[in-house]
């Protein structure tokens, strides 16, 4: 049941070096650089995104993900969910408006898998980049690199994904869209949605808490994914796997790494989900095909390389 959470809004990623990170996120992915704040964090967005920013990069000596934030309908919803998060047992912290430039008050909370999440109701909307608000053209001419359209979702690894599923279902109103079950019915992967997308966030069971597998950015077509692959070779970027298709979500995809070892996905297409749909299930004995539909074999790196 929907609880007023609308969509993914932002992700803050830790990088070892900002210049190298901008080579990746701005010049290679084609995200739009928005601004740098007083802490030295750099804000970026995909060109189709209406909000001021969706990606925040922070220099640190340990790469990974700080938090991912979701936008809720309004301040009443924010208050309601704040109380429900406390009642659920989350450690909840209020981040004042303006701590991220252009973003309203945020409610930050922890989760059984060890990841930090946020909800917020207000963020400055600067409109889609490079096209007019009224009578918009199809796309702006001066995009660079892969020309990713938006931050789409992230995949997180941690223990007790069942606990995080309960948090996201009961408190935040996400649906379980797709899953992988082992022979005992134990869920080892879960793809959650708060929209019609196959995933707005995904989790894989893993013993270390709070690990970051990838942030994913949307492309329009398979041709765009192949073009991204060409750019990865031209720029000698560290490739993980692809281009290929997933069994889970059926998205067409390629995975590669930023210069700090954080994994990035660009993808297109995939399944849709309505709230009355049962979850799509893959069995663990078909995990290879579930993750890499063409090879049907897992590469160990996909499971073990995390930040």
């Amino acid at each position: 049941m929907r609880k007023g959470v609308m969509r993914p809004g932002h992700i803050q990623i830790r990088v070892l070096d900002m210049k190298e990170a901008l080579d990746h996120y701005r010049d290679l992915l084609g995200l739009i650089e928005v601004e740098t704040d007083s802490q030295g964090r750099v804000y970026l967005k995909g060109w189709t995104e209406v909000d001021k920013f969706s990606v925040v990069l922070r220099v640190a000596d340990e790469p990974g993900m700080d938090f991912v934030g979701y936008k809720v309908l309004n301040n009443e919803t924010l208050e309601q969910l704040n109380q429900e998060l406390i009642d659920f047992g989350c450690k909840v912290e209020e981040i004042p408006a303006g701590e991220l430039n252009g973003c309203g008050r945020r409610i930050r909370f922890d989760s059984p898998t060890g990841h930090m999440f946020e909800i917020y109701a207000e963020k400055e909307q600067t409109g889609k980049w490079g096209i007019a608000e009224v009578n918009p053209e199809a796309w702006p001419r001066d995009l660079t690199g892969m020309k990713v359209t938006r931050f789409d979702h992230c995949l997180l690894y941690g223990p007790n994904i069942a606990g995080t599923l309960e948090l996201f279902q009961t408190v935040l109103g996400f649906d379980l869209a797709e899953q992988t079950l082992d022979e005992n019915g134990f869920r080892i992967a879960q793809f959650l949605t708060v929209s019609q997308k196959a995933h707005d966030v995904a989790f894989i069971e893993h013993p270390e808490p709070g690990k970051f597998h990838h942030a994913s950015f949307l492309l329009d077509t398979w041709e765009d994914v192949l073009r991204a692959a060409d750019l990865i070779s031209m720029e000698d970027v560290s490739l993980d796997i692809g281009p290929t298709r997933h069994g889970l979500t059926h998205g067409k995809t390629i995975y590669f790494f930023d210069k700090s070892g954080n994994r990035t996905e660009v993808f297109c297409g995939g399944d849709y989900h309505y709230p009355d749909h049962p979850p799509v299930t893959w069995s663990a004995d078909q995990l290879g095909k579930a993750i890499f539909y063409h090879d049907r074999v897992l590469n160990e790196r996909f499971l073990t390389v995390l930040t």
């Binding site: 340990e62 790469p63 070892g261 390389v305």
Partner: protein, 124 residues
């Protein structure tokens, strides 16, 4: 390769060696020669999979995640091979990365590998 110094990198625990140019990190040197004696992860100093110990020789390192190389480990010549530039021939030991626990759905590695890693765990 004209004008660039090449150094011999011997990986003692795998009984293999490769050559690496002075402006190349060890992992790139190894991958370019289609040799596999250091596990390859993100290639960005973030994931820890290519952790090695340098036994002998001169080298420089680029920035590495503190999650995987603490200050103490750095002083004890541990490094991530994707961030190490050779400054002389090197003797190194690979397979220094130890995942905290094995994920329940991952295939266990061959017994031999596990034994090797357990010995390392004890020694470290």
């Amino acid at each position: 390769m004209t004008g660039k110094k090449l150094y011999r990198i011997e990986v003692v625990n795998r009984k293999q060696a490769f050559y690496c140019a002075e402006d190349q990190v060890l992992l790139t040197g190894m991958e370019r020669q289609n040799i596999s004696c250091i596990d390859v992860g993100c290639r960005g100093g973030g994931c820890g999979v290519c952790k090695v110990r340098i036994i002998k020789g001169e080298y420089e390192t680029k920035r590495m995640s503190r999650t995987h190389i603490s200050t103490t480990e750095e002083e004890k010549c541990f490094a991530l091979a994707c961030q190490v530039l050779p400054r002389s021939d090197l003797l190194i030991e690979s397979d220094q990365y130890i995942a905290l626990q094995t994920s329940p759905y991952q295939q266990p590695k061959a017994d031999k590998t596990i034994n090797v890693k357990n010995e390392l765990r004890i020694r470290i």
